[in-house]
C-alpha cells in the first residue's frame, strides 16, 4: 500500500501516466457530451409543467453536482496533504480549484437563466442559492490564497485549512431544501425512494453527469501535468525528458 502510494505520488510517474490516459478521457467525454446532448435536447420529451425550459436541467444539475463533488475531492486532498505531506495533493487541489469554481459559476448562472421564466426572478436569497454562492466564494478564496502568499508551502497549508473548514457548507447546500422553506425545489434524484423523473429524462441527465465528471478528470490531469512541469522544471527527470525530445 505504501510503496504503491509513493510510486503513484511521485511526480514523474504521475506525469507519464496522466499523459497516457488523457487522450482516452478526452475522446470519452466528447462522446458522452454528444450522446447526452442529443438525448436531452432532441429525444427527451417536453415536461408536463415546465415545457421545454426544463431542458436546462441537463447542464444545471450536473454543474451543481460537480461544484460539490470537486470541493469534497479538494478537501480530501487537503486532509491527506496535511497529515502525510504527499507532494501531489497540493498540485491536484490547486489544479481542481478553477474547475470547481467554473462548475459552481455554471450552476448559479444556468439556475438563474432557468429561474427567470419559471419562478419569475433571476435570483432570490433562499438557503439553497445563498449556500451555493458561498461555495463560489470558498473556491475563489482558496485560489486567491494560493496566488497571494509568496511561500508555496505556507500557502498550501493555509489553503488546506480553509478547504477543511469550508467542507461544512457541502451538507448545508445539499440539505438546505429540506431544512428550510426555499424557493428552490427539493431533490429529484438524490432522495430516499425512486427518483421522481421520467426515465426518458433521467437517462440523458445521468449521461451528462458522467460527461461532466470525465471532463473534470481530464482537465484535472492536464492542469496537474502543467503544474508538475513548472514545479519540477529544474529536476533531473524533467530535464531528461526535455533533452530526449519527449516533452
Amino acid at each position: 500500500m505504501w510503496t504503491w502510494a509513493h510510486k503513484f505520488g511521485s511526480p514523474g510517474y504521475f506525469y507519464a501516466l496522466a499523459g497516457k490516459v488523457n487522450p482516452w478521457l478526452t475522446a470519452l467525454y466528447i462522446a458522452l457530451f454528444a450522446t447526452g446532448l442529443y438525448l436531452g435536447l432532441v429525444v427527451a420529451p417536453t415536461d408536463y409543467q415546465q415545457g421545454d425550459s426544463y431542458r436546462i436541467i441537463f447542464v444545471h444539475v450536473p454543474s451543481a453536482w460537480m461544484s460539490m463533488f470537486v470541493y469534497v475531492v479538494m478537501a480530501v486532498f487537503a486532509a491527506i496533504g496535511l497529515i502525510w505531506r504527499l507532494k501531489l495533493t497540493a498540485v491536484l487541489a490547486k489544479a481542481s480549484a478553477p474547475l470547481g469554481a467554473s462548475f459552481t459559476f455554471l450552476a448559479l448562472a444556468t439556475g438563474s437563466i432557468w429561474g427567470k421564466p419559471m419562478w419569475g426572478t433571476w435570483w432570490v436569497w433562499d438557503a439553497r442559492l445563498t449556500s451555493e454562492l458561498i461555495l463560489l466564494f470558498l473556491y475563489l478564496g482558496f485560489m486567491a490564497l494560493q496566488a497571494a502568499m509568496p511561500d508555496r508551502q505556507t500557502a498550501w497549508r493555509a489553503g488546506a485549512i480553509l478547504l477543511l473548514v469550508g467542507v461544512v457548507n457541502i451538507p448545508i447546500i445539499h440539505f438546505s431544501v429540506d431544512w428550510w422553506y426555499t424557493l428552490h425545489q427539493p431533490a429529484t434524484i438524490t432522495k430516499l425512494g425512486a427518483p421522481s423523473i421520467h426515465p426518458s429524462m433521467l437517462v440523458p441527465l445521468l449521461i451528462m453527469a458522467v460527461a461532466f465528471k470525465v471532463f473534470y478528470l481530464s482537465l484535472l490531469l492536464s492542469r496537474a501535468r502543467a503544474e508538475i512541469l513548472h514545479r519540477e522544471r529544474r529536476t533531473r527527470w524533467v530535464q531528461e525528458l526535455a533533452r530526449s525530445g519527449q516533452l
Binding site: S53, V59, P98, I113, R223, R233, Q239
Partner: protein, 51 residues
Amino acid sequence: MTEFLYMGGYGGYVWSAYGLCLLVLLANVIAARLRNHNARREVKKYTGREQ
C-alpha cells in the same frame, strides 16, 4: 429545425444556458493547453542553459 430552436418559446433561455456552458468549458480546455505549452517552454529554457 425552427421549432427545435424555438424550444416552445423558451429558446432564448435554453440556448443561452447551453451557450454559456460551452463557453466556460471551452475556456477551461484552452487555459489548460496554454498552461502546458508555457510550462514546456519554461522547462526548455533551463535545458538550454545547462548545455
